[in-house]
Symmetry: C2
Subunit: 345 residues, 2 copies
DNA sequence: GTGAAAGCGCTAACAG
DNA sequence: CTGTTAGCGCTTTCAC
């Protein structure tokens, strides 16, 4: 069956859509008898209001547009999960899209979401979006909240509001822990210079070593490109074939760390006795690998929830979120891959 | 700035919305001069058509509603990824929701999606939705395609179209492989009786053993409830403490299999030399655990793509998908956890 | 207490 | 070549 409208009900009851609408909304103007008849007919035909018509009327769609670089990572889909929890509770739906790390696709999606009249746009941008800040600035509308998650995008004029995890503190705690465990030659398998996230973690690494008067060996700082297990594997082999060898690896993420672990085990090193490994994110894989991976937990689910709540506070309570920055606490998760003291040397 | 409409442009140019609309659509009726003026004004004000208005007009939203039990699993988010690829290519957006395995929430979401005028609804239902088939049947509309993925839901009257992976053949191949590797006492850590998926895999297990004249030991068939690593761990301990012990485990999914592996290693068994382990799904964790897990690959991404394509063929080419059943090929992925012959005994 | 009409933004049939 | 009008489904102001 096609869809039943107010008009259909009005026709059936020989009345008008206005009356039917009012009756369904329990308007005091409508007589009881009419109300009964209308409601009965509505129930009979299983009438449901057309949200599209309501959107058009009220200029509110009760949907948010969300853009992910990918959903193929536990960290990302956990953020989405958190978002869905909060959005669902508030009666909002999420339109979800992937940019596949393509900044042009990101810009296109933002435009499309505007055309769809979403009530807000949330984005977990690719690193490269920062190369398009002028274009971004040009398409951004200030009547629809726009929130950046997990990264910092800075189009110059103003700061876009963002939510990130406190990677600096998290990384400092991680390096502290490695030092406490007695590791002194800590390598850093880092992300690209163009990534705000990678820069922050790298700075934390440098600062913490310096604070503890541990010399930094530039040869121990090595760049990732694909952020895969395979790359971690290769980079670890590379580093371990050098003149001086690291005795610990601080990695940009968990999957790279697992690649590093596998290479080390392959080469016959014992983890954590000889070499310690530390990941980043606390994604599900860090629990199931062997040895289980120490890592810095990013509160993905909470970040997802918080981002929706922030948007809602803007929409419902008119709170200004421009320039707002929310930095969420990380926590160090110590597992076998770095817990020398537990295992013994 | 608020949003610019045809009306605004028409007012500025002292003409009407109809003319503006036609000019923007390059209607041959409109004079070139007018076209230029309209387009210039549109560009100047960065005019974008309002999709909500178009939806109302054409009764098409170019959105699909997708319901997942959870997105917290690699298998699920990979299906979503596949869906997004195909949907994006066809100009469709996905509204994504989680039911958290709650069948009532599933029914509610279906209703809400209808109200939103999605062009189709896709669902990866919870096992329990099968207890609500009458209610489901009552709310289902036949003017909007409805596709079940990963499970079979059967409301009696008609068969809802579905897409699944060919778990029966997949499981048979898996058991065959275990037998080939010389395992004879194969335990099955299975899912609930109420789950169509679990029943199929269980049947494949029984049939394959029977086909090879290997006796079935009922004590080796054990049920999962939470499908977690922890549960796998416990169930393996339980099974290995029995009178006769299995020499292989065929598990309902990868994470349970990893729990089983960890318990076995913990108890001092060597995998795969003494005991083989086989998972199901080929989720990302099966690559990173130690030993890496043999498993039955479900073509999640392809299932996602295919489901969108199927819907599109219904919408665009009017193909009838009622009663349609698509069963997609699995493939056996042999890794260390069951590859006795490679490793030697 | 109920109907008529306008309007949300857009398209298209119909006029001229 | 361009304007008028109706209509998608709904709410709401204004009449009666």
């Amino acid at each position: 069956m096609g869809r039943i409208t107010l008009k259909d009900i009005a026709k059936e009851l020989n009345t008008t859509v206005a009356t039917v609408s009012r009756a369904l909304h329990n308007s005091p103007e409508i007589g009881n008898e009419m109300k009964e008849r209308v409601k009965a007919a509505a129930k009979k035909h299983n009438y449901k209001p057309n949200q599209t018509a309501l959107s058009l009327k009220y200029q509110r769609s009760y949907t948010f547009g969300v853009i992910f670089a990918t959903l193929q990572q536990d960290y990302m889909s956990t953020i989405l999960h958190g978002m869905l929890l909060a959005a669902s509770k508030a009666g909002y739906k999420l339109i979800v899209a992937e940019s596949n790390y393509n900044p042009k696709k990101e810009l296109k999606l933002i435009k499309e979401f505007y055309e769809m009249n979403v009530d807000a746009i949330l984005i977990l941008p690719s690193r490269k979006l920062n190369m398009y800040t002028e274009k971004l600035e040009a398409i951004l509308r200030d009547d629809i909240p726009f929130l950046v998650i997990d990264k910092v995008i800075d189009p110059g004029k103003r700061h876009l509001p963002f939510i990130t995890s406190d990677d600096y503190v998290g990384a400092c705690e991680g390096i502290n822990h490695l030092l406490e465990q007695g590791y002194r030659n800590i390598a850093h398998v880092r992300g690209l210079e163009s990534s705000s996230v990678a820069r922050i973690r790298h700075k934390a690494y440098l600062d913490t070593l310096e604070k503890h008067h541990v010399p930094v060996n530039d040869d121990f700082i090595i760049y990732c490109n694909d952020f895969t297990r395979e790359e971690g594997f290769e980079l670890a082999q590379q580093l371990m074939s050098g003149q001086t060898k690291p005795d610990a690896f601080f990695c940009i993420n968990d999957i790279v760390a697992i690649g590093v672990q596998q290479a080390l085990i392959n080469m016959g090193y014992r983890i954590p006795q000889e070499i310690g490994v530390l990941g980043f994110s606390n994604s599900d894989i860090s629990e199931v690998c062997t040895p289980r991976l120490s890592t810095i937990h990013q509160p993905a689910k909470e970040m997802g929830k918080k981002s929706i709540k922030l948007i809602l506070s803007n929409i419902n309570k008119g709170k200004d979120i421009d320039n707002k920055r929310i930095v969420m606490k990380t926590s160090l998760v110590i597992r076998e891959s770095s817990n020398r003291k537990l295992i013994g040397r």
